[in-house]
Amino acid sequence: MDTQSAAHLLFIVYAIVVLGGGIMAVVAKSLVRALVGLVLTLFGVAGMYLLMAAPFMALMQILIYVGAVVVLIFFSIMLTNATSRGDEAKPRSGLRIFLALVAAAIPAGLLALVAWTQSTATDAVQTPVEISIDQLGKALLNEYVLAFELISVVLFVAMAGAVLLGFERRKSK
């Protein structure tokens, strides 16, 4: 098997993992199962980053999403007592599901149309170039240093806000 067909096979496997995980994350009755679906999707997307010759992005995907975000969501499932017999287990109305399908299909379909018509017009390359970590680090501290500093401010404000909300809750009790 040459590398090209191996890449195609891997893409199909990752696409199945991403979509299966995504569907599981959206329709599962139990929130813990939905979270497992989200983790599957995250790993599938990390695999796609590897296929696109971006190994640093794949590592960051696993480190940030699976290591931080999923753990936070798991804590919120635990702390809000969202059991499998709880809120999510109640049946949904068919009209609401139909409207949700329409509302999701319109923007996704329009964007897919644009992506399809533009993908033949762009200068798409077949073999992506790999960007090394020191190139990324230099770009982060030279050209894009403002964005780098701003994202740390945003993270700090979010953490301070979370702590403040926690204090507010305790004081009002």
Partner: protein, 103 residues
């Protein structure tokens, strides 16, 4: 498989589709963040694909996607705190019952 860029973007758009569908049909706030994370992943995938598979600067695309991940982490922190406050005050995180506004 002549258009790898479109295939990656199709996967990203399907994640957007699932995210919007989930955010409308989920009944609890925690289910809604899971759907939002799906959409943010689709965004990151589309950004990296358009940087890696076209002539656009690839380092800019990877750094933008890292920015999206940082925002996702910040958003998850804040949303967790808000969900905890809502759960404490209303006793539930079901969206249909958390509908009172306090002036």
């Amino acid at each position: 498989m002549s258009e790898p860029l479109f295939l990656y973007q199709a996967v990203a758009l399907l994640l957007l589709f699932l995210g919007i569908f989930g955010i409308i049909t989920r009944k609890s706030l925690v289910g809604m963040i899971i759907a939002v994370e799906l959409m943010l992943n689709g965004a990151g995938l589309a950004i990296v694909a358009s940087g890696q598979l076209t002539g656009a600067p690839a380092d800019l695309a990877q750094l933008s996607s890292l920015l999206v991940m940082g925002l996702a982490a910040a958003e998850a922190t804040l949303v967790l705190a808000i969900i905890l406050v809502v759960a404490k005050r209303f006793g539930t995180v079901e969206t249909d019952r958390v509908s009172e506004l306090e002036g």
